[in-house]
């Protein structure tokens, strides 16, 4: 198999895994928010808005970065940072939210702030990956449309699987804290892959 094919496969695999983890974190986020802010449509609105803002910010930042450097290593580093942040959540989330409840309250401001603290930074860093993947795969403009389609399609399949499998299978089996740490480790591992195979992913023969 050609070098280009393997590279494409690796990037799409990363898109799938990161898409899975990203929506997994959105679903897990609800488990962290419920005990403090209740389980209403308002909690979900805050979570969904936070994730969408993170996607937007990540796409913008990632697009700007990749045009400047095209460095898989940089993208990998951001994923590692996201993983470390997410891994730390179970240690600080409960005291922080309990404190917020008494200071900010459980109104709209409180829930949105809590969801943002929980997920905005790491999910932004995770979605930086998408423009990186597109740019790294883009060898010719004539296949540009299909490439963008593949990256978004595969990443969205990851989103769908993450949403459903996390909710219906993984949370009931393992609990939310353990899953958070596993997904955080997986995210960081994706980053390490990009750092280690930096030259390969750039398209240079390794």
């Amino acid at each position: 198999m050609s070098h280009g094919f393997m590279r494409g496969l690796l990037l799409l695999a990363l898109a799938l895994v990161l898409g899975f983890a990203l929506m997994g974190f959105e679903m897990l986020g609800s488990r962290y928010l419920y005990p403090y802010f209740g389980g209403g449509i308002n909690t979900w609105a805050s979570l969904i808005a936070t994730v969408l803002i993170a996607l937007m910010a990540g796409y913008l930042i990632g697009g700007a970065l990749v045009d400047r450097t095209m460095s898989p290593r940089l993208c990998g580093l951001l994923l590692v940072i996201a993983g470390v942040y997410l891994f730390s959540i179970p240690w600080w989330v409960d005291p922080l939210f309990a404190g917020m409840l008494t200071t900010v309250g459980d109104g709209m401001a409180g829930i949105i702030l809590a969801a943002a603290i929980l997920l905005l930074l790491p999910l932004t860093l995770m979605s930086v990956f998408t423009p990186f993947a597109v740019r790294l795969l883009l060898t010719s403009v004539t296949v540009g449309g299909r490439l963008v389609g593949y990256v978004y399609g595969v990443s969205t399949i990851g989103n769908v699987l993450g949403t459903l499998i996390v909710t219906f299978t993984l949370v009931p089996m393992f609990g939310s804290r353990a899953l958070t740490m596993v997904f955080a480790a997986v995210t960081a591992a994706c980053g390490v892959v990009m750092i280690v195979w930096d030259r390969f992913l750039r398209g240079e023969p390794s």
Binding site: Y34, P35, G38, G39, G40, L101
Partner: protein
């Protein structure tokens, strides 16, 4: 991601559209609140508050119009038995107002007791006032808040905490975990009790009672005809003679319409936890309540009081 939500929304709208077609007459008002789809039904004798979900209506509260002071649902009468346990009755907290019949009954019977009802849904409070003759007084107040969030913020202590927070068929998971009960316990005066309405027809019952029992040393269960009422408290299980004595004393003092002594006589003591303890981390409520069990099976986990 967006696709899934649209499908969900479509299904929800279809279910909502199907609901008024179920052939129920006497629909007085429908309200889609931030948290629930609330349907108020009424005829010349009864008014009922229901939450619609899965094309079904789940009764949250019911009131007899000729006799509004009556507690028409068996388990709500048993919820009031909680007042027989503690050494004093200065402050009672209820999580989950519904139509407000239980707290109205308690407030009318215990005029010197401060009662606070914490209700998540502001529209439920409005509808309780509109249809269920619920009125706030200096001694009977409401706060609109999630029950657990309220307990975290308010360090005040209570003699009885009544928990009857159902959203349709389900109790939200964060009101069933060890962390929640630990919080509730920290808000009890010495000798205080937590009283919770638990639905016994699924495996979730086993986990809910085991979780209660992991925080409170003693748990008494009462058969409320379809629902089970749990009374949880710290310290060793009360001898039945002691509980009956306390019930008789409170009964004599307040002349409760639903005799505490009669209800206390049906006590079962929870002795054999079977379910897995639920925590904020691990609370597979959806899975547990999917597994149905025979309604009377819960009694196997109890013993007669001594």
């Amino acid at each position: 991601m967006m696709r899934i939500r649209w499908i969900g929304l479509t299904v929800a709208l279809a279910a909502l559209a199907a609901m008024p077609a179920l052939g129920q007459s006497g629909l007085l008002e429908t309200r889609e609140s931030l948290y629930n789809n609330i349907f108020i039904f009424g005829d010349k004798d009864t008014v009922t508050m229901t939450f619609g979900q899965n094309k079904r209506y789940y009764t949250e509260s019911s009131m007899s119009l000729p006799d509004p002071g009556a507690l028409t649902v068996a388990y709500t009468r048993l919820m009031t038995l909680g007042i027989a346990y503690p050494p004093k009755l200065e402050r009672i907290l209820e999580i989950g107002l519904g139509g407000g019949r239980t707290v109205s009954y308690l407030s009318a019977s215990l005029p010197d007791t401060s009662i606070l009802a914490v209700e998540l849904d502001k529209d439920v409070v409005d509808l309780a006032k509109k249809y269920f003759r619920f009125t706030e007084t200096a001694k009977l107040r409401t706060v609109v808040s999630d029950g657990r969030a309220y307990l975290i913020r308010d360090p005040a202590k209570w003699d009885v905490i009544l928990i009857d927070a159902y959203r349709g068929p389900f109790v939200p998971f964060h009101l069933l975990t060890k962390e929640f009960y630990t919080l509730a316990k920290s808000r009890l005066n010495p000798g205080g009790v937590v009283v919770q309405n638990i639905e016994p027809s699924t495996m979730l019952f086993d986990s809910a009672t085991a979780t209660l029992n992991s925080v409170f040393r003693s748990v008494d269960l009462y058969d409320g005809g379809g629902n089970v009422v749990a009374v949880a408290y710290d310290g060793p299980s009360l001898p039945q003679s002691e509980l009956l004595g306390r019930a008789a004393k409170v009964q004599a003092q307040y002349q409760m319409r639903y005799d505490l002594r009669t209800m206390a006589a049906d006590r079962r003591v929870f002795q054999h936890p079977k379910g897995k303890v639920m925590t904020d981390d691990f609370a597979p409520v959806e899975t547990l309540r999917a597994i149905e069990q025979r309604n009377e099976k819960w009694k196997e986990q109890t013993e007669a009081p001594r």
